[in-house]
C-alpha cells in the first residue's frame, strides 16, 4: 500500500517537472473546468502534444477529464498536489531549524578560527 502511494507521489513530482505541464496546471487553476481545445490554444505546441501532457497529468491524478457531447473538459484535482505539498512541508520542517543550527555552529567555528588567528604571533 505504502509503495503504491510512493509511486503515486513520484508520478506527481515527475509530472510537475515539465514547464508546459505546470503552465497547464496554472491555466486550469483559473477555471473550474475547460475544454481541451480551448486549453491547447495558447500553447505553441500541437494538440497531440498537449494531449500527451494531459495524459501524464491524468496518470498522476492531477487532473480529471469528463466528456460533454463532443467536447472533453479537464479540471484540476487538488488531492495529489496537497500530498506533494505535504512532502515539501515535512522536509521544510526538518531542514529549516537544522540549517539555523548549522549557521550558528559554523558562525561559532568562524569566531574561534579568527580568535586563534589573532593570537598567532606574526
Amino acid at each position: 500500500m505504502a509503495n503504491y502511494q510512493h509511486r503515486g507521489l513520484d508520478r506527481v513530482f515527475a509530472a510537475l517537472v515539465d514547464p508546459t505541464r505546470r503552465a497547464i496546471l496554472a491555466r486550469l487553476e483559473l477555471e473550474d473546468s475547460i475544454a481541451i481545445s480551448t486549453l491547447a490554444q495558447p500553447f505553441a505546441i500541437k494538440l497531440p502534444t498537449v494531449m500527451k501532457h494531459l495524459d501524464v497529468l491524468r496518470e498522476a491524478g492531477l487532473i480529471t477529464r469528463s466528456k460533454h457531447g463532443r467536447t472533453v473538459d479537464v479540471r484540476l484535482s487538488p488531492a495529489p498536489l496537497r500530498e506533494a505539498m505535504d512532502w515539501l512541508a515535512r522536509y521544510a520542517r526538518f531542514w529549516s531549524p537544522a540549517l539555523d543550527r548549522l549557521a550558528s555552529h559554523a558562525g561559532a567555528k568562524e569566531r574561534e578560527a579568527q580568535a586563534l588567528a589573532g593570537l598567532k604571533p606574526e
Binding site: L16, D32, M85, L88, F94, E110
Partner: protein, 157 residues
C-alpha cells in the same frame, strides 16, 4: 518544482561551512528537526562513501537517515542520496531522494543553499525548475477556493 530549496547566509567562511556539512563532528552539532542531540553520525565523505545519522526527536522517536555521497567538491558542493526511516515506521521505505548543499562565498561569510529533491533521478533537471515550490504553495493555497465553487449550482447537471 519537485524540490525544496532553502537558503541561509552564514557568518563563516565556506570551508568552515563545508566542514560542518561533511564531518561527523559538524553534523552532530546541527542535524535533525529539533534541539535533541544526534545519537550517532558515521560518514565517509567521498564520492561513493556512505553516511548514517541517527537522531531522536522531541516525541521520543528515533530516526535514521542514510545514503551515499554522490558529489563532493570542497568547499563548494556536496550531494547525497537520502533515505529516511522514522522510528519503527519507515515512512519512506524504499524511497531514495536527493539532497544537495551548495556553498558560495559572500561578503562576510557564505551562502548555503539546500535542495532536497523528491526524485533522485530528477536532480539533474532540478536547476531549471527551482522556484516551483513557491508557485506550488500558491496554487495549492488557492485550490481550496477553487474546489468549493465546483459544487455551486450554476451548472445544471
Amino acid at each position: 518544482m519537485t524540490s525544496l530549496t532553502l537558503v541561509r547566509r552564514i557568518a563563516a567562511r565556506p570551508s568552515i561551512v563545508f566542514e560542518a556539512l561533511t564531518t561527523a563532528e559538524g553534523i552532530a552539532a546541527w542535524w535533525g528537526p529539533d534541539e535533541l542531540p544526534v545519537l550517532s553520525a558515521e560518514l565517509d565523505a567521498r564520492v561513493g562513501g556512505a553516511y548514517r545519522v541517527r537522531f531522536q526527536t522531541l516525541d521520543g522517536q528515533e530516526h535514521e537517515a542514510f545514503g551515499e555521497y554522490l558529489e563532493v567538491d570542497p568547499p563548494r558542493r556536496v550531494a547525497m542520496s537520502w533515505n529516511y526511516a522514522f522510528g519503527g515506521e519507515p515512512a519512506e521505505a524504499g524511497r531514495t531522494s536527493r539532497i544537495e548543499f551548495d556553498v558560495r562565498p559572500i561578503d562576510g561569510g557564505a551562502e548555503l543553499t539546500l535542495t532536497h529533491t523528491r526524485l533522485a533521478d530528477e536532480a539533474s533537471r532540478a536547476s531549471h525548475a527551482r522556484g516551483w515550490t513557491g508557485s506550488l504553495a500558491k496554487l495549492v493555497g488557492r485550490l481550496g477556493a477553487l474546489t468549493a465553487p465546483a459544487q455551486a449550482p450554476t451548472d445544471p447537471q
